[in-house]
């Protein structure tokens, strides 16, 4: 499978006798937006950390482009093209867009002097690539002037510059307004169009439904539900599934959960 970017096989992570992740199979293909949904404590952040290499799984295999990678680490994660945009976006708001995109990775000429022209044209290209359409802002604009959605866009642009194949967006629409959320969606679609993949993590099922090609619901460290976009007809249906997972004894589910457990 040439379009398979990364695949987790039976990943487990235990802290002492407690399983944070209890056997997860998850894959992301190229050019795909995967929506990962789950309540607090479902194991989302542990899964992100495992993908980023920050946490070592207790068991399981990680395959990159179909090949098993041993000794998974932050370096190997980065080499595989995985970049995480954390919830706080890690931007320096008093600096320009250019400075944020190249933070810690300045393009320099002799003696460590910054190649201003090259950085500016690269930033301009990246802003266009992610569909940054506001004409008010230039690469020299201060990030503090941007809206929350646009700041998220800059964080995504920075991830792309770092040669990301898979961008993990951790709760990218939390605390954003409707129009700002729409901006983030636009950035995500542009990234998908360029053949890159996104793992979109969120609480808000409406947001995830609006953007993902495939949905994965994590519950108490296991995949409780997985479906492609074609199989889910509305956000309400996803919400019903979530409610069913939270309350297995409640009214009957619309989608048969048991049949899909662990089948991501």
């Amino acid at each position: 499978m040439s379009d398979r970017l990364i695949e987790l096989r039976n990943i487990k992570k235990s802290y002492g006798r407690v399983f944070a992740i209890g056997g997860v199979n998850l894959h992301v293909d190229r050019g795909e937006v995967v929506g990962l949904i789950g309540d607090n404590g479902a194991g989302k952040s542990t899964l992100i950390k495992i993908l980023a290499g920050a946490v070592r799984p207790s068991a399981g295999e990680i395959h990159v482009s179909g090949k098993l990678v041993s000794g998974w680490s932050p370096t190997k994660s980065r080499a595989a093209g995985i970049e995480t945009v954390f919830q706080d976006r890690a931007l320096a708001v008093q600096q320009t867009i250019v400075r944020n995109i190249f933070m810690g990775r300045e393009i320099t000429t002799a003696l460590g002097l910054i190649d201003v022209r090259k950085e500016r044209s690269e930033a301009s290209r990246l802003m266009r690539e992610i569909g940054f359409t506001s004409k008010v802002f230039t690469p020299d604009s201060i990030v503090g002037q941007l809206s929350g959605g646009e700041r998220q866009g800059i964080a995504i642009a920075r991830a792309i510059y770092n040669q990301a194949e898979l961008i993990i967006l951790d709760e990218p629409t939390t605390a954003l307004s409707l129009t700002e959320t729409e901006k983030v969606f636009r950035f995500v679609r542009s990234v998908r169009q360029s053949g890159r993949s996104i793992l979109f993590i969120g609480h808000n099922i409406h947001h995830v439904y609006g953007i993902a090609d495939r949905f994965v619901v994590l519950d108490r460290g296991q995949i409780a539900f997985a479906a492609s976009r074609a199989e889910v007809t509305s956000a309400e249906q996803l919400i019903a599934v979530m409610e069913r997972i939270a309350q297995p004894t409640g009214p009957g589910p619309i989608v048969d959960i048991a049949a899909r457990r662990g089948a991501a």
Partner: protein, 334 residues
Amino acid sequence: MAEVTSEVEAGYPERPFLIRFISNNRAPIGTLGVLVVMMAIFFVGNPAVFSDWRIYNAVLTTLPVALFLVVPLVFIVTVGEIDLSFPAVMGFSCWIFAMVVQAGVDPLIGMLAGVASGMVLGAAIGAIVVYGGLSSLVATLGMNYLIRGAILIATSGKSIALVQLRSSTAYQVFASSIGGFPAQMLWASLFVALAVILFNRHKFGARVKAVGDNPDSAAQMGITTKRIRVYTFVFMGLGAALAGIFSTMINFTWWPTAGDAYLLPSLAAVFVGGTPTWGGIGTIFGGAIGAVIVSFIQVGIVSAGLDGFYVQFFNGLIIILALIGHRWNQIRYR
């Protein structure tokens, strides 16, 4: 992508250079305005004195010492720290310089020794603050007392006269008068110019600003934030050493209290110049102008015919007015 218009695809429009320049340099331009207004008032107050070159020559003789201190202080404040120990570091490194010269060694070697001692001391102070996780305000205050105390103990408070400096190459190159213009001013200007490049065009300056702006983000982006903060203290040590050495060369004497008088005026110059207290942004050029303002207040007040008692009052007035001006001029983004 329907939203991507041809205008955007053509690239982002750049505003005219002049407008961009003014907008990007609001703080230093404002400071320059303060200086111009202040000088105009002085000039009106006493045209005879202020149209004479000698008064400017007097300021330009001592201004370099302040510039060597203010410029690295801007780096320190921008990275989110503060340093109150630079007067003692200044006193210590020119003490090393004075002892080397007194021992009959070439003053050029003495300068190297002094600068090296300043940088080592700066590194030590920075390491204590950064790796010790201490408040730089309190820790450097303590270091200032500690180092000054050590100097006083070691020298029993005695000064060192260095008349032999006058005939040395070092003096000719660094502190003599070139066509009626103090040579030290040329060196200080060069220092300021290099610092402007380091601050605005070098990756070190970019990282200093990133660390001061959001240390967590900087660390996430792979910047070694602690090392950057220590480096700013090393740079402060370099500046303090140069300030001390130049001051000693100008006066042909080393005093055990050398540097003490520079603490508050230098800090004032940084903030009058338009560098905010919260870190992340700063201006070297503004700081230099701030140093000029602070240096001219004293000379100006007395020359304008006012009593010397007015100096502190006007010092305070300028600081407060400049701060209010910058507050209005600079938005703090969060």
